[in-house]
Structure formats: structure tokens, C-alpha cells
């Protein structure tokens, strides 16, 4: 037993998965990893049952699915739905709008979350730190319906408090909610308002694991505030940042539906239409689950490629990937 554990500990740093050469090795591997394999059992069962088994249903992407007829009973139509999606005249516009919103989220909302976490971490008064943390995470719990109707209230033409203030500031009357030029800024603003505070939680958890002695040592060495942030705080959340970044690239085509749907109107639709709202109209309102599934599959393939790609790049630069 003891030797086994030692052997395992010794191999702990190896990056290459040992490949069992023959049956004896397979048995040895199982014996050696029996505890770990046992621990994983419920999780594997879960993924098999609830995540992979239902995926047989994905075949409706190649059928004209009618729930009443069942999956097997619905007509097989091959690649029809995929072709419809990619040859749709609106496709380039949908792709463009989706990517722009994703980029804004990646380059504005995401860094802001990190900055916010760092600033919170630098607060010295514990009571203040806790209070602000609690306050900024409150908006996360308001549904998009509520956030959008509050936005409508604040930016209402004529009497919205923010509308009045901004118009005095800029000297012109702008219809923020209808002007296509203001659609994306508002979406980002809502997203930042609603989710930044919540997003800091993961980073704060990572920061909580930083060894405080390092700071003390750095102070004694005469390191300034900025140097401490740069050399101790940031490196300690670097792997969390990278993992979140990799995972977010996989979601690049998922802008979310509800917020955009609620914020779009006849005058800003040219910039507001994204894949997720389009799928809602075609897939859900027009009852074509097959089409929605086909689009979902296409998006998933892009997502997988992006995740594996960014993960590979991260590894090349000697950073932690997600695998």
C-alpha cells in the first residue's frame, strides 16, 4: 500500500497519461487509481444519463421534428436545416451583430470584472469591502425583464432621470432606446451593471487563497502597492483568468436571448438581430425545433473548436489550460 501511494505521488507531476500496454497493466492501473475512479463514478453516471443520453435527440437537426410523431416518426430531411441557416440572406448580418456583441463583452465586461475584483481586494476597511461586495452583487438577481423595464424608466424620453441628465450634458435630445447607435452601448452597460459584481466572486475566491505572508515579505522588501498587485495578486488569479477566458471564447456565438430580445425594437433591429433571437423566432415561434437544434449544433461545433484552440494556445505559452 505504502509503496503504491508513493509511486503515485512520484508520478504526480507527469504530464503524459500512462498508456496501459497489456491486460496486466490495465488491471494495475485500475487498482492503482481505484479510489479516484470510485470518486468519479457518480459524476460519470450523471454525465452519461443527463448530458449524453439525451443527445440522441440531436438527430432532429436532420429531421422535420413534430413532437407528437416522436423522434423516429418524424421525417428525415438530411442537411436541409443547416443549408437554410447558412444560405439565409440575413446570415452575414446575424454573424456580424453576434460577434460584435461577443467582442464587446470579452474586451469590456470581462476586464472590468477583473479590475473590480482587484479594486475590491485593495479596500482596507473590511466592513466597507464586505458592504460594497454585497451591493454590487445585488443586480445579478434582477431578471432581464426587470432590468429592461428599469432601463426604459431611466431613459424614458421627457422624464427619465438618466435621459434628462444626459441630454443636459450633451445638449441634444437622443432617443437612446431606439437609436441603433446606442443599442450596443446600452447592452454592454446593462451587462456590466447586472453581472460585473457577480463575476468578481470567482476572482475574490481565488484571491482569498493567496498566501498573505507573500504580501508581508514583499512589504518588508520595500515593494510598493502597484508592484504587489503586479507581482503577487495578478499572478495568483492568472490561471483563473485564463480558464474563464478560454471558456468564454466557447460561448462567443451565445449572446443570450432574453436581454437582446427585450431591448430590440423596430428601429434598432438592424443591429439587434443575433443568432439567439433569430433562433427564437424561427425555432420557437414557428415551431421548428429541428431548425433550432441544427443552429445549436452548428454553434456548438464552433464553440468546441474555439475552446480547444484557445486551450492549445494557452498551453503553448506555458499557461494552465482547462485540460
Amino acid at each position: 500500500m505504502a509503496t503504491l501511494i508513493e509511486a503515485e505521488a512520484a508520478s504526480g507531476g507527469a504530464d503524459i497519461t500512462p498508456r496501459p500496454q497489456n491486460r496486466r497493466n490495465v488491471r494495475e492501473t485500475i487498482v492503482r487509481y481505484r479510489w479516484l475512479l470510485f470518486l468519479m463514478l457518480p459524476g460519470i453516471t450523471y454525465f452519461a444519463l443527463f448530458r449524453f443520453w439525451p443527445m440522441y435527440g440531436a438527430q432532429i437537426a436532420w429531421r422535420d421534428y413534430i413532437p407528437f410523431l416522436g423522434i423516429q416518426g418524424s421525417e428525415w430531411v438530411g442537411w436541409k436545416h443547416f443549408e437554410d441557416f447558412f444560405t439565409n440572406p440575413d446570415f452575414p448580418r446575424l454573424l456580424g451583430n453576434t460577434l460584435i456583441l461577443a467582442a464587446l463583452s470579452l474586451f469590456i465586461a470581462f476586464p472590468l470584472t477583473i479590475v473590480m475584483a482587484l479594486l475590491l481586494n485593495e479596500l482596507r476597511l473590511n466592513i466597507l469591502k464586505r458592504t460594497v461586495q454585497t451591493l454590487v452583487y445585488v443586480p445579478h438577481f434582477l431578471s432581464w425583464t426587470v432590468v429592461v423595464s428599469l432601463t426604459g424608466l431611466l431613459f424614458a424620453i421627457g422624464n427619465g432621470p438618466l435621459w434628462t441628465w444626459l441630454n443636459d450634458l450633451m445638449g441634444t435630445e437622443i432617443n437612446f432606446l431606439a437609436d441603433p447607435a446606442w443599442f450596443r452601448p446600452l447592452i454592454v452597460l446593462q451587462d456590466v451593471w447586472k453581472n460585473t459584481g457577480w463575476g468578481t466572486i470567482i476572482f475574490l475566491a481565488a484571491l482569498a487563497s493567496v498566501d498573505q505572508e507573500q504580501y508581508e515579505a514583499a512589504i518588508i522588501d520595500g515593494a510598493g502597492r502597484w508592484q504587489r498587485v503586479w507581482h503577487i495578486t495578478l499572478p495568483s488569479i492568472r490561471s483563473t483568468i485564463i480558464v474563464l477566458l478560454i471558456l468564454q471564447t466557447g460561448q462567443i456565438l451565445n449572446t443570450g436571448f432574453e436581454q437582446i430580445y427585450l431591448m430590440s425594437n423596430a428601429l434598432n433591429r438592424s443591429v439587434a438581430d443575433v443568432f439567439d433571437t433569430y433562433v427564437y423566432f424561427v425555432g420557437i415561434q414557428q415551431g421548428s425545433y429541428s431548425y433550432a437544434t441544427a443552429v445549436g449544433l452548428a454553434k456548438a461545433i464552433v464553440g468546441v473548436i474555439l475552446i480547444f484552440g484557445t486551450n492549445w494556445i494557452a498551453k503553448r505559452f506555458n499557461q494552465t489550460g482547462i485540460f
Binding site: 413532437p67 423595464s149 424614458a156 432617443n175 425594437n265 423596430a266 428601429l267 423566432f281 415551431g287
Partner: protein
Amino acid sequence: MTTRKRLRAPLAILTVTGLALTAACTSGGDDGDGDGGGDGGGDALSSLSIMAPYFAAVPPEEDDPIDLALSELTGVDLSVQWVPNTDYGERTNVVLAGDDIPDVMVMGKTPAFVQTAEAGGFWELTDYLNSGDYPNLVSENPEVQEATSVNGHVYGVYRSRDVIRHCIILRADWLANLGLEQPQTTDELFEVARAFTEDDPDGNGQDDTYGFINPAWPGSIGSGSPYDALELWNGAGNVWLEDGGELVPSFTTDEWMEALEYERDLVQNGYTNPDYATMDPATWNEPFLNGQGGIIIDVQSRAPQLVELFREQDPANAESYVALVGQPEGPHGTFAMPTAGYSNFLAIPRSSVETEEQLEQVLQVLNDMNSTEAQILLNNGIEGDNFTVEDDYAVYNEDRQDFTDQVSGAWAQLGTNVAGYNAYSTQPATPYDEELAQLRLDLQAEDLENAVFNPAAALASETYQSSGTQLDTLISDARIQFIAGQIDEAGVQDVIDRWHSQGGDQVIAELNELYSELG
């Protein structure tokens, strides 16, 4: 660090979750005896399950007195699966994919329903309903029943609604201040909108009012919006227009374009609220109450709602604020906008009601549920409990308000009233309310004579099923963009051309073929 602690806790948790999983797996076998399963085979039904949406805060529970009374009345054990109205459609799709489908489902004529019905998922009821075997299910309004059909095949007992609901609601005090008459034509309406904007109707010496209040409409074309009404009044037809035996879309007519110019002028002259493209319809009453705007084109039931809100604000003069006016005459004639006349229907799935005998039994139950006695249960509640009858009106017991709310917000959803509404109306609280109620009835009768129905209501074109939402949105967006001054008439024409090329031409061809088939 206590690395020597025993392992009991994690093991216990593991065991519990493991047990949960295995329990989950093994209990799968005995699931088949749900509501639907028991009805299998050709036996007569002893129980009947109905799936229906509810609007109330809380749905009725299994031991609800109405449930018991209805079960007794119909002779079957009635069980209702209540689903929140907001996500009813989502739930129906999932239920249809499973194998314990209720015996009766409230369904709308959505693309999903049409697909399912055409695949044989629901009983066709045309002959049964017309046979006269079920007297309470014979429609008093055959046009409405026809409109509920899919290309002439009726798949459900429709839930009847008032055919005329649209009207114009104006600030009566503003009309009086300016010495204006109630508008009877669209031109007069335009003039009132101008005066409400420019002539200081509230007499405060400030330019702080406008005429029309239009919210951002959630539906596209033909969805009962103020714009749809103005276009119909101008003679553009109701979504489709018969022209020399051919169906043409309303928005290809000159009358439609003319109405759009009227709407644009209202906006460009400032006679409409500036946030017409974005205003949340939930806040529609606010500018009217606050004295910012003075004209609303919407359903009549908004008028008593507004009167109630004015009562909170100014009880003494509450009755002087709201004027209710019927649909106006247009330059090309008098046309009135009707509703579809129904809101969804009770359809009978073939997988739960398998034989014709069972179907006849279900129809008999639905027939019984539309008797006067049952209508009173569904719409008023239980006499002597939550209401009493005075002068043929229902007077509700305030202590039982929760129950009354459940009746009107849930049980009433099972009522079809196709052969007429025979339950009691609510007793008007004041003479003014009674007057208003009478006015509404008079206006309904008057406008019904001029109602313009959608000639394509019963027709289900395949192309429209698969891309209608997008096509319609093209047009309703172009409408708002034109009104906002972002595109001109040529721009609207471009969008209409796109509508034609992206599937509209097929829709026209398919509908006309169906139209000529049905004669």
C-alpha cells in the same frame, strides 16, 4: 489540520446520492399509470384530464369546489392540469412529445399545432360539431368557427370572445376644455390629435401635451395594434384583402400606404408620444393619467381600467376624464376592426382519446360544461358562497375574493361559450359604470355591422407556417421606420419587394390556391 478524521461524512453523502440515483432508476417502471394511461384501450372514460392555462396568481387545487361540482355535473372525474399562461406554449410542446397526453388541451392555432393536427395528432371535429348532437357546442357565430379551422377542418371547440373590442379612448375633459366634439371620422381624429398637442388642452399654458399614445407593439402586422386599426379604417383590409376573387396582402394596397402617411404625419408633427417605438405597453395608461397624452386606440376594457385609476387620483371627478368612442369612419368608407372572435380552442388529442366512442363521450362532457349551470360555475363561481344574484347580476362576496379571482383567472379558461354566454355579468358598482357598460355594448353592436374580417383567417399556408413570423416582422419594422422618417415610400417598397422574394410570393400563391379550393 485534522487529517485523521474518519470518513463517515463523505461516505454517507455518497451513499445518499447513490441511493437517490438508484431509487430514481428503479421507480421508472411504475410511471405508466398516470392520468393518460388509465384511459388507454377502448373503455369508456371514467376520468377526464384537461390541460389549460391560468392567469390567476395561484391555480386551483385538486379539491377545489368547482372541480367537484363540475365532476358531478358531467359525470366524470375531472382533473385539470393548470399551466401558467406565460409559458403555456413551451409546456404543450413538451407534453405532446411525451406519452401521457391529457384528454383535452387548450391549444392555439400556432405552426406547431397545425403541424401536429395535419399529422393526425388531434381529432377533426367539423362533422361532430355540425351534427347538432351537442347542442351547447353549436356555434352562434359560424364565421368564427370557420376562422378557427385549419383550411376548413375544425380541430377544436373555440373559446368565444367579443368580436368587437377596439375603440378610441380620449380625455373627455380635454375635449370639453377645447370645445371639441367626439371624433367620428379619421380626419376629425387627426384634428383632435392636433388640438390636443397644439391648443393646450389642459389649460396650463405650457406646450406639454400630445395626442396619441402608442406603445411599442409586441406583435407584428395584423395583431390588433393601433396602427393595424388606422390602416383598416382607411380601407386597407384586415391583413388580407379580397380583390377580384384574389387574396392580396393589405400592405400592398394604396390605402395602406395612405394610412402610413397619416401615421407618419401624426408622429412628425409631434401629435404622438415621442417614445412610440420603445414604450413598454405595460405603462400605456401612465401618459393618459398624467395628462401627457389624450388618445388611446385599444380595446374597450381599457376604459373602465382608466376610470378606476382616475378614481384613486381624483374620486370626485373620476367620471369626467374618459370618453369612449366607437371606430371612426374613414375616407374610403366605414370599416371596423374585429378581433378573431375567439382565443384558442379545446382540442382533443388522438393518442389519449383513442376511439370514436371515447371521443363522443368527451364531446358530451364538453357539451355539459357549456350548459348554463356549468357556465355559471366557470365564470361566476358557487352561488351563495362567493357570489349572490341580484337583478340578474352577480354580486361578489368580498371575503371570498381569492376564490373569485381563481374562478375568473383559471376556471373561466375552460369556458367556451360558443353557443352564447349565459352566466351572470358582474353588477356595475355605480350608475356611471352601468352607463359605460351599456355604451360598450351599443358600440359593439354598431361596429359589428361594419366589421372587416380577415378572409385568410382559416387558411394555413405551408410557407407562412415556416417563415411567417420573419416575413411579418419585415413589414411591421418598415412601417415604424417609415413613420419615424428613417425610410421613404421607396424604402417601404423595397422591403415589400424583399417580402415577396423571401417567401411572400409563395404565401400568396398557396393561400389563393387554398382559398379557391374552399370556395
